[in-house]
């Protein structure tokens, strides 16, 4: 569902992403780990078609995102680190608008069911977003993805800043979506969450994919060590 083929992005002479090859299948959750500037967000922006690659291809459901911008966006949902919604609208109104933008015609009952499925407490449905915590906003983001019936989920550090409970709830939601066949690519710093939810894990550095694992094949401790070694934090790793 999510494929990159030698995907490269350069800004002047600076290489932000270097020949990245990824493949995330149906129901898989791929976590990209890496320090700031490793190329995680660049990868997601390239898959969203927000920026153009210098070379290589980004494919969603087999379609090149640049050549089929509208078509590929029908399949995907995106949740950034800070999901910003319209503060003067309620959760239902935000969901209604964003799903409407994506061409979905949903009844209020449908909207409520998506918010419930995303784990937002019912008392918040009719409340304006301005009073929402980050975790609550992320849940509305998940509801938007559910309402859109997205087959691909692109997440850019979605658990950053969330408290452990909210982060855990978010992880569970991802797994639920994964069971429904949604392919997820998540850029994150959170090793623990990555190990918890991912089916595959990649470690990036300087725009390159340095390591790649099947999540079940590696323990959290080994993942942490590998990560630190890859990042050249050898002393800490020892």
């Amino acid at each position: 569902m999510i494929t990159t083929q030698n995907l490269t992005k350069k800004y002047n002479n600076q290489t932000a992403l270097d020949r990245l090859n990824l493949n995330v299948g149906k129901g898989e959750i791929y976590c990209l780990l890496g320090a700031n500037g490793a190329g995680k967000t660049t990868t997601i922006n390239l898959l969203l078609g927000f920026i153009e690659p210098t070379s290589g291809n980004a494919l969603i459901n087999g379609l090149n995102v640049l050549e089929n911008s509208k078509e590929t966006k029908k399949f995907l949902a995106y949740i950034p680190e800070n999901l910003m919604l319209y503060p003067s609208l309620t959760a239902i109104e935000n969901l209604d608008y964003f799903s409407g933008i994506a061409g979905k015609k949903l009844t209020k009952q449908h909207l409520i069911s998506f918010l419930k499925e995303a784990g937002l407490q019912e008392s918040a449905f009719e409340k304006r977003i301005t009073a929402f915590s980050k975790g609550m906003r992320q849940k509305v983001g998940i509801a938007i993805a559910l309402a859109k019936d997205a087959k691909v989920l692109l997440l850019d550090e979605p658990t950053s800043g969330l408290d452990p409970k909210a982060s855990n709830e978010f992880g569970q939601l991802l797994q639920k979506l994964s069971q429904k066949g949604v392919a997820t690519l998540m850029a994150t710093h959170d090793l623990f969450r990555a190990k918890e939810v991912a089916t595959q894990i990649g470690i990036m550095k300087n725009g390159q994919l340095k390591e790649e694992f099947i999540a079940n094949d590696i323990s959290l401790t080994d993942l942490e060590k590998t990560y630190l070694v890859t990042m050249n934090y050898k002393e800490v790793a020892l």
């Binding site: 969203l48 927000f50 911008s69 509208k70 590929t72 966006k73 029908k74 995907l76 949902a77 995106y78 950034p80 800070n82 999901l83 910003m84 919604l85 319209y86 503060p87 003067s88 609208l89 109104e93 209604d96 608008y97 964003f98 409407g100 933008i101 994506a102 061409g103 983001g141 938007i144 859109k148 692109l154």
Partner: protein
């Protein structure tokens, strides 16, 4: 999607306390301005009717009198107040409302409303046209300056883009959310004005077509502003910058260019001063026949010509009073001089108008203002039209009086007095301003410029698609 965006934008707008307060203030001011204008309009109309009737009574009841004395006694031509002046008072306040009609002299209109006010009148009045031309564009700016910038600032744009939205439908939704409240406000204003006008007594002929044209004119003006403000909002990244740019456009369009146009027009095609004008008229008058002076060279030539035409050797033998005949000829000569000099003023006015129309390319305010005043019959062109009608009436009145004098008295009989019932035979001065079709045909250039602005502003919208 367009409907969803429209609903979303409308909710955002009306949940914003600042917008609600601004809307309330504009509606309140609009209501006050209509109320003030209605009072003013009724008051002026009452004065007009009273003065017109009283003046005619004075004329009709002047008793037995020499017609030429009556000509010097004079009468007034009153300029009616037109129904749509309730919406646009134009230059009415400054050009005077009545013209004194007397023998030998064409007078300027006098008793302007502005002359009755203190210097504070320079600050302007709260009138519907002020609200329509200045305040509603400001409201458009307030409602729309952050229409697109807020999407950048709130960070919602990335999520929107990821949803695979149709840019033009999104823009259309935002356009509707900005335009429809303005359209509603304008529509209500015009309906209220129409109802008030059609229910006022003795206000003259109210034409719904003119009101509809005026409504369409202002609607076009607001569409231009809506398009410009949305374009600015889309092409700037920050709301603050968007607001400053939008306000700059408003200042340039509505304040700076009209004032600059006035200066440029006056500088390029100046009017003579009142003193120069009077001196030029007097100089020309002296070079022709003076009806009161039987010894001048021109009077002697006229006498010889008339005697020859009638085959007699003495003016006593003419079948009419030669004194009256000479005065009528003198009147005609003076009328020609006035037409010549006033035509020069009109030429200058036409040239100045061309300057305004040229500068309208830089400001949608100018063609809108001119069209609005023209439809309301409160523009300078209508005033000229009225002044010309009054002058024609003055000339006809002088002929009416001189003819009676000439026909019913003998040469040298200055003691002749017309019958007391004679004065009523003079037709009442009636003035009808140009019809709507004539007004529109006189303003085709303004219409064309405004249409160009309208189309151009829509063309700008097409550049919004890529944000």
């Amino acid at each position: 999607m367009t409907r969803k965006t429209f609903v979303k934008e409308s909710k955002e707008l009306f949940r914003d306390g600042r917008v609600r307060i601004a809307m309330f203030i504009v509606i309140l001011l609009m209501g006050i301005s209509i109320w003030i204008s209605t009072q003013h309009y009724q008051n002026i109309n009452k004065q007009y009717e009273t003065a017109k009737t009283a003046e005619r009574n004075v004329w009709d009841n002047q008793g037995e009198k020499n017609p030429h004395s009556a000509a010097h006694y004079g009468t007034y031509a009153f300029k009616p107040k037109y129904p749509l002046s309730l919406i646009d008072q134009g230059v009415d306040k400054y050009v005077g409302s009545s013209i004194f009609l007397e023998a030998h002299k064409r007078n300027e209109a006098q008793f302007s409303a502005a002359a009755d006010q203190t210097g504070l009148a320079r600050f302007g009045d709260l009138t519907p046209d002020f609200m329509l031309l200045f305040m509603i564009p400001l409201l458009i700016i307030l409602l729309g300056y952050n229409s697109f910038t807020k999407e950048h600032e709130m960070g919602t744009l990335t999520l929107l883009k990821s949803q695979g939205f149709s840019a033009w439908r999104w823009v259309l939704g935002k356009w509707m959310a900005l335009f429809i409240p303005i359209l509603t406000l304008t529509t209500v204003l015009f309906i209220v004005a129409g109802l008030i006008l059609s229910n006022l007594k003795d206000f003259g002929i109210f034409d719904w077509n003119s009101l509809i044209w005026m409504y369409l004119l202002y609607t076009a003006y607001y569409i231009i502003f809506v398009n410009l403000i949305l374009f600015i909002s889309a092409k700037t990244k920050k709301s603050g910058i968007s607001l400053v740019v939008a306000l700059s456009v408003w200042i340039v369009s509505c304040l700076a260019i009209p004032k600059a146009a006035s200066n440029i027009a006056e500088d390029k095609y100046p009017y003579p001063t009142r003193q120069e004008f009077a001196a030029n008229v007097l100089k020309d008058k002296k070079q022709g026949l003076d009806g009161h002076n039987p010894w001048s060279k021109e009077a002697k030539l006229l006498k010889e010509k008339v005697l020859a035409e009638h085959g007699v050797d003495s003016i006593h033998k003419l079948p009419f009073n030669f004194d009256a005949y000479r005065m009528q000829k003198g009147e005609e000569h003076e009328a020609d001089i006035y037409f010549k000099h006033y035509n020069y003023l009109k030429d200058q006015f036409t040239k100045q108008t061309k300057v305004y129309k040229g500068l309208a390319v830089f400001s949608p305010y100018l063609p809108t203002r001119f069209m609005s005043m023209a439809i309301a019959h409160t523009d300078y062109a209508t005033h000229w039209n009225f002044a010309d009608a009054a002058e024609n009436y003055r000339i006809a009145t002088q002929k009416f009086l001189n003819d009676d004098f000439a026909k019913n008295s003998a040469y040298g009989n200055w003691g002749y007095k017309a019958d007391a019932s004679f004065w009523k035979k003079l037709p009442v001065f009636e003035y009808s301003p140009p019809e709507l079709t004539a007004v529109l045909s006189q303003n085709t250039l303004n219409l064309a410029v405004l249409s160009t602005w309208l189309l151009g502003s829509f063309a700008l919208l097409s550049f919004i698609k890529k944000i």
